[in-house]
């Protein structure tokens, strides 16, 4: 099956999704005052000034274009083949890899970054992505995903409420333990497979130094906000920057 046919199969499903999406948002737009803009007897706006005017145009146009896309997809055989193949165009290993990448990024963004020390979370992310995806090794990819998922799930489950996000707690230690365990496992497995490459040897160094340099330059060089200032490592760095180092070079000690 050629690429164009696969594309049309995808277009068939996308257009149906877009039709539903347009109709849903057209319905949502109907809650915004349009023709009848009277609130408590006072006319707040005319139709041409209504906040619903442009959204109606956008979702109306999207509906028309989605119908057009559906027509093209049907004409080019997308509908006929829609139920015969998945139409994703990925091989199974690629699909597994992309699912693992999605899971790792999801747990990093939603689980770790809001709750765990940013340097630790990023070190774990870098190790997971480099070791898990540099080679075609399925085992290392699955171990990396499981490590990030365990760390992220724990942070999510133990400290879900927003009020707990920036407080120092045990999930920093759990992430640190998982990062050390993953690094150790990486070396053991790669040595056993006789594939202790330069990339593997450099991974812990990159994983620790890259986020460390980034966070420090961001916080102290560019004077920008950084996530989770009360995290295990960053709180110590910040304390010693302001209490130990800064007075030293300002000549106050």
């Amino acid at each position: 099956m050629n690429e164009k046919t696969i594309l049309r199969v995808r277009d068939f499903w996308t257009s149906i999704f877009l039709i539903f999406l347009s109709v849903f948002f057209l319905f949502q737009t109907s809650y915004i005052p349009f023709l009848d803009t009277q609130v408590a007897g006072v006319d707040s706006a005319d139709w041409y000034n209504s906040a619903a005017l442009v959204p109606y145009g956008i979702f109306g146009a999207m509906l028309v274009l989605a119908l057009g896309l559906l027509g093209i997809a049907i004409k080019d055989g997308g509908a006929r083949l829609a139920l015969q193949i998945a139409g994703i165009g990925f091989s199974k290993p690629e699909l597994l890899r992309i699912t693992c990448v999605c899971l790792i990024l999801f747990f990093y963004i939603f689980g770790l970054v809001p709750r765990v020390d940013f340097i630790l979370a990023s070190s774990l992310l870098i190790t997971c992505l480099i070791w898990g995806f540099h080679s075609e090794n399925r085992l290392s990819m699955l171990i990396s995903t499981a490590s990030m998922a365990t760390s992220g799930l724990y942070a999510l489950a133990a400290h879900f409420p927003r009020s707990e996000w920036t407080k120092p707690h045990d999930d920093d230690w759990i992430t640190l333990a998982i990062f050390i365990a993953l690094t150790f496992m990486m070396f053991v497995l790669e040595k056993r497979n006789n594939s202790l490459t330069r990339v593997v040897k450099l991974t812990p160094l990159i994983a620790i130094t890259a986020p460390l340099i980034l966070v420090m330059s961001m916080a102290f060089g560019f004077r920008q906000n950084v996530p989770n200032r009360t995290g295990l490592l960053f709180s110590q760095i910040e304390y010693h920057y302001y209490v130990t180092l800064r007075p030293l070079w300002q000549g106050k000690k």
Partner: protein, 505 residues
């Protein structure tokens, strides 16, 4: 003539001010270097370089200094994309895709060093050409823009989205338009700009202020690149050894007409709202192929072909800044990121923009192109060595950069959630061959379109004829209609049918 002399004297003063200030170099050299690295690494783009630096500089640095870094990265990245194109046949950025057509055959024939030398010189002249056009045309257009009111602005924003959708689509044009509409729809979220009516909040207070530009840019341009780069382990090919890279001045002098033509095309296409460097490179390459004396050599290692693509994509930088500064409508995706930086520094581009800022931008562009030229000649070996770094090493670091950059601008975790959501959407769209640039242009111009369109109707008491009675608006409406009609299959084939009929007679 007096006008040009005044411009040049203002520009000269600003340039000298920058040259004698040591802090200029503290920002310029690292940012141009970083830009070239971003351009050289396949998977990282000029837009991403500018967006990430926007996150770093945010609004805590004086805008003058932040602009040095952002423009430096922009110029560097567009040029840097030529390295993998020429040496590995892998375009570093979409803008340098046309460069690979003749750059790589030259490398295969052992002329890689020469190709890089020509590219460096052509890019340098191309950037200067675009900058000169920016210096002149921005004032002409600023004078014209004094007469631009809400109806023209609304139609121009719509034209930008439609044009970007039309020209950036690899598959069906309809997909580019849908992408633009998704961007416009995203811009509708939050309080509307005239009545402060809530739209699509879904009881989440974060959405009241709408989608922030920087997380959207990061999500749209970084996350899909990271996911796609990780999708399949890919070994970097052997980087060919290149001889010393010399400025090919004699060769370039011989081909000055090609450079000037390409510079003109690049600036013109760059100035079209929402189109940018990649289209400029291809169009110039196409024109070169039809007009060059060595057109038969195009695709086989033609120096003319290489110059056509490279001079145009760098000239497009200056062009892309013209609509940005005059109307607040970005000419390219990296210019959209620059607009984000201007906005978070409370600078509203348009007829009321500070003229000193325009002169400053022009001076920074000239300095950035000189820095790029010198770096291209003397530090090319570093950039060639960087090509050996596998994607799986640098993409995780980019993810951390993106996260911290996105967080810093807004200062909230919600921005990261938005970035991730937009990233997944952009990745899905990439897989289905929907262009991302119209989406981003839609998000950026959506607010402007909504406000100016409704304001036009408010002024005219709901009379739609306001869009045809004003000459500027009528022309823009005509262009919008023509653009849509020209893509309908029946009308698309009309010229061919007419010619056939004439020929039959």
């Amino acid at each position: 003539m007096e006008f040009i002399a005044t411009q040049l004297s203002g520009f000269g003063t600003s340039l000298i001010g920058l040259v004698v200030d040591p802090t200029t170099y503290a920002y310029l050299i690292p940012s141009v270097f970083l830009g070239i690295v971003f351009g050289a690494l396949p998977g990282l783009t000029a837009t991403l370089a500018v967006t990430i630096l926007t996150g770093f500089f945010g609004n805590k640095f004086p805008l003058d200094q932040a602009l040095i870094a952002l423009i430096g990265a922009y110029v560097g990245a567009i040029y840097g994309g030529s390295y993998p194109s020429i040496l590995l046949n892998i375009p570093g950025t979409a803008a340098s895709a046309a460069t690979a057509m003749d750059g790589h055959p030259l490398t295969k024939s052992g002329r890689g060093g020469e190709a890089l030398g020509i590219t460096t010189t052509a890019s340098f002249i191309g950037t200067l050409f675009g900058t000169f056009c920016l210096l002149i045309f921005v004032w002409v257009l600023l004078l014209v823009s004094q007469n631009i009111a809400s109806p023209e602005k609304a139609l121009l924003a719509l034209f930008g989205i439609l044009l970007s959708g039309t020209l950036m689509s690899q598959d069906l044009v309809i997909k580019g338009w849908i992408s633009g509409l998704i961007g416009l729809a995203m811009a509708m979220v939050g309080l509307d700009p005239i009545l402060s009516e809530e739209r699509y909040i879904f009881d989440w207070s974060y959405l009241l202020s709408g989608f922030q530009v920087v997380p959207v840019l990061m999500g749209a341009f970084a996350i899909p690149q990271i996911m796609d780069g990780m999708r399949a382990a890919m070994a970097i090919g052997e980087v060919p050894k290149t001889l010393r890279i010399r400025p090919q001045l004699s060769e370039v002098r011989k081909r000055l007409p090609t450079i000037l033509r390409s510079g003109g095309i690049g600036t013109g296409i760059g100035a079209l709202p929402g189109v940018g460097e990649d289209v400029a490179g291809w169009v110039s390459y196409g024109v070169g192929k039809t007009t060059s004396k060595e057109s038969s050599q195009f695709g086989k290692g033609s120096v003319d072909g290489l110059i056509s693509a490279e001079a145009a994509n760098n000239a497009a930088i200056g062009g892309a800044l013209i609509p940005l500064l005059v109307l607040g409508i970005p000419g390219s995706p990296p210019a959209a990121a620059l607009l984000g930086a201007l906005k978070i520094n409370n600078v509203i581009p348009g007829p009321t923009i500070d003229p000193a800022l325009i002169i400053h931008i022009v001076a920074v562009l000239v300095l950035a192109s000189v820095t790029m030229f010198l770096m291209g000649l003397f530090t090319a070996r570093i950039f060639i060595a960087i090509l050996r770094i596998p994607k799986t090493i640098f993409l995780p670091i980019v993810m951390v950069l993106t996260t911290i950059g996105s967080f810093s601008v807004g200062g909230g975790i919600n921005d990261l959630f938005l970035m991730f959501g937009v990233g997944l959407l952009a990745y899905a769209m990439n897989v289905m061959h929907y262009p991302i640039a119209p989406l981003v242009i839609g998000v950026i111009l959506g607010g402007l379109f909504d406000e100016t369109f409704r304001r036009s109707l408010l002024i005219s008491d709901g009379d739609l004829s306001i869009f045809v009675t004003r000459p500027g608006a009528a022309i823009l409406l005509g262009l919008n209609i023509l653009l849509v009609i020209s893509q309908i299959p029946y009308f698309k084939s009309m010229p061919r049918r007419i010619f056939k009929r004439i020929a039959a007679r």
